[in-house]
Every structure is written in structure tokens, then in C-alpha cells.
Point group: C2
Chain length 225, copies 2
């Protein structure tokens, strides 16, 4: 009978890089499931079947681990976002602004569905996170906002060009009275994020298609007529 309380069995050795991503994966799981505050060095270690010093060997401290996690995930999110926000089409380009928006929504929500954990982390603010990181998320959001603003300004102009003056009876000028573009852009982003949250919470009730159809209907209703 040697040691009733036997020594912990050794975890499989693993090259640093691999262990690193394994730990980040574990941290992500915990953060998503139990909130940011629950991402403890010990819990992360245990989740990976390893002890704390191993974690400290790869991340100098808890802050660094959280930073690394957030950096990885916001990076992924950014990457997924690039195709969602296409550059503003050239002036001669014959692109339908409405179609562009619908395609954007679709791409965005599809991306969210494909990496739910990443987006959960990004979309649900995460109070426990170091403030600098919240700032990073905010910055990325601001970028999106600008890009969307630009797209919108273009889109509104493009729509006007399409309707070659029926203005006699005030029929045109629907979105004409100088829309508050900044607000409109924020509304869109908010809308998309709201949709994303719904998709994350109850994917079954909210197929991407449902949002696409809805958006189409709305844009249609808003159309100059």
C-alpha cells in the first residue's frame, strides 16, 4: 500500500505552443460558460488537466492570459468581419445598396453561428476583463461604425440617383430630409448585434434567413417609391 493519496498522474508533455492554445481554449470555455470572473489560473489549469505552475510558465500572470485570450478572439472576430464590411463601391459601379446590406447581415450572422464562443466573448461585454481590452473591442466597433457610415452615405446617394426625379408631388425625398447618418449607422450596428445575440441565445428560433427576409422587407418599405 504505497500512498493511499497517490501522486497526481503526470499530464502528457506537450510543446509550449500547443499547450498555449490548449490553455486558451480552456479559458475560452470557462469564460463563455461561467463568465469572465470565473477564469482563474487554477480553473484553467485543471480544465486542461494540468497544474497552475504550468499555466504560469506560459503566461506571466492572469492579466496576460486574459489579454492573450481576448486578443485571439477579437482577432478572429475582426477577421470574420472583414468580408461583412466591403469597401465602398466606386461611383460607376452598379451595385444595389440594399442587396449589399442584406448580404452583409447574412454574412455576419453566419459568421456568428459558426464561431459562437468567439462572438459570445466579444458581444457580451465581459465586466471582469481588463479595461484596456474593453477599449480594444470598443475601438473595433468604432471602425465598423465608420465603415458602415461610409457605406450608408454612398448607399443613400446611390438610391437617389436611381430615382430620376418625380419630385413634383414630393414623392421622392423620402430619406431625403438629411437623414442622421451617424444615428442610422449606429442603429444598423445595434440591430446586427442584437440579431447576433438572439442567434447566440436561441439559434433554433432565429435562423439567419429570418433576419435576411426581415431586413429586405424593411429596406423595401423604406425605398423611394
Amino acid at each position: 500500500m504505497s500512498q493511499l493519496t497517490g501522486r497526481r498522474p503526470y499530464a502528457a508533455r506537450m510543446p509550449a505552443q500547443e499547450r498555449r492554445t490548449q490553455l486558451l481554449d480552456a479559458a475560452l470555455r470557462i469564460a463563455v460558460d461561467q463568465g469572465f470572473a470565473a477564469v482563474t489560473m487554477d480553473r484553467v489549469a485543471r480544465a486542461a488537466g494540468v497544474t497552475r505552475p504550468v499555466v504560469y510558465g506560459l503566461f506571466p500572470d492572469r492579466g496576460a492570459l486574459l489579454a492573450a485570450l481576448l486578443e485571439r478572439e477579437t482577432g478572429r472576430a475582426q477577421a470574420a468581419l472583414a468580408p461583412v464590411l466591403p469597401p465602398v463601391p466606386g461611383p460607376d459601379n452598379e451595385v444595389d445598396p440594399d442587396a449589399l446590406l442584406v448580404a452583409g447581415i447574412r454574412a455576419y450572422l453566419t459568421a456568428v453561428r459558426e464561431s459562437p464562443d468567439t462572438w459570445r466573448l466579444v458581444l457580451f461585454p465581459a465586466e471582469g476583463a481588463p479595461p484596456e481590452l474593453q477599449a480594444a473591442v470598443a475601438a473595433s466597433r468604432t471602425d465598423s461604425l465608420h465603415q458602415i457610415s461610409r457605406l450608408l452615405t454612398w448607399g443613400i446617394a446611390a438610391r437617389r440617383r436611381d430615382v430620376p426625379r418625380v419630385d413634383t408631388a414630393g414623392l421622392t425625398s423620402v430619406l431625403t430630409p438629411r437623414v442622421d447618418v451617424e444615428l442610422f449607422a449606429r442603429m444598423l450596428v445595434g440591430l446586427a448585434e442584437g440579431a447576433a445575440r438572439m442567434v447566440l441565445d436561441e439559434p433554433d428560433s432565429w435562423p439567419v434567413q429570418r433576419f435576411a427576409v426581415f431586413t429586405e422587407q424593411m429596406l423595401d418599405a423604406l425605398a423611394v417609391r
Copy 2:
């Protein structure tokens, strides 16, 4: 020189009820300023110029304190919300649905401006809070959602009644193709909450009027024409 390290001066005595609200106020301050996790028995006590046992005298434990805080604040929020969500007007009632919505937005944002702390607590999810309480907030939101859904269904019907068939050229039937009312309601709520967050973050950039005007324009653009 009696006692260089003198005894802590006694805080003014105070009836339990008064102390209680004072402590809740302190807790609210902390939660709003430094996040939920920072609401510590000790910090609350110090903020109120008192020691921990006093707090424990009024709240059995930290959970109870947080519960009491959340209950008070969600209560306030609910109360403020009542006038924002009027009952569905009777069928004979001549109320303009658009005006009703704009008035709602205005009332809501005004309420938010008037009690920013309460709304900050409610609108910024609060990861550190006991899950049951998050559930409470969610439930309240669901209520609002239902109420808005009902208002919307009524509003859409009312609008249709106003436009007595010009349908020959497809001019009517703007919101007619069976709008996804649930989604529309969620969009509105999301919109209002987004607006509230903006108001809380940068009150100066976002006067209530700006949202009212915007909403009016949007509804106008959506109008059957």
C-alpha cells in the same frame, strides 16, 4: 497623548431603515463606477463611513445585499417604464400609432436621463450579479417585449385602416406582407436600449430630441404613401 492609533470615531447612529437605504445608495455608486464585482461588503461599509458588521446587521450576506440593490433598481426602472408602454388603445380610439411610438421613445430616454445610475445598472448586464437576478431583468424585458408586440400589431392594423385602398398599383401593402412582428418588436426594444446606452455614455452628443426626430423620420419613411 492618549492612543496614537486612536479608536475609529463613531459614525453617527442611524435608524435601520435609513442606514439601509444609505448602504444601498453606496452600493449603487460603487457598482456603477467600478463594476459589480467591486461591490464588496467592506467597500460598501467604508463608502458609508461605517464598518462591515454594520452592513451584516442589515443584510445577511453579500448575496442579499446585491439582491436588495437589484430589486430596488429594477423596481425603479419598471416604475419608470409603465408610462412608456401605454395600454393598447381601444379600437374606436383615434390615436396616431406613430405619435405613440415617438412619445414612448421620448419618455423612455427622458427617464433614463433622469436616473442614469439606475439605468446603467439595468442596461449594462452586470456579470457579477447572481444569475437569478439577471433572470429577473430578462423577465422584465420579456414583458416589455410582449407589450410592444401588442402595440405594434395594433399600430400596423390602425395604419392600414387609415389608407383606404389605393392598392391597384401596389402602393399600399407597404408593411403588409406579413411583417415579422416579433422581430420588429425586438428591433424596437433593441433600438431604444441602444439609444439609452448612447445617452448614458455621452449625454451631450445625444439629446433626446435627436432620437425623437430620427424616429419620426423613419416612421415617416415607412409610412404608406
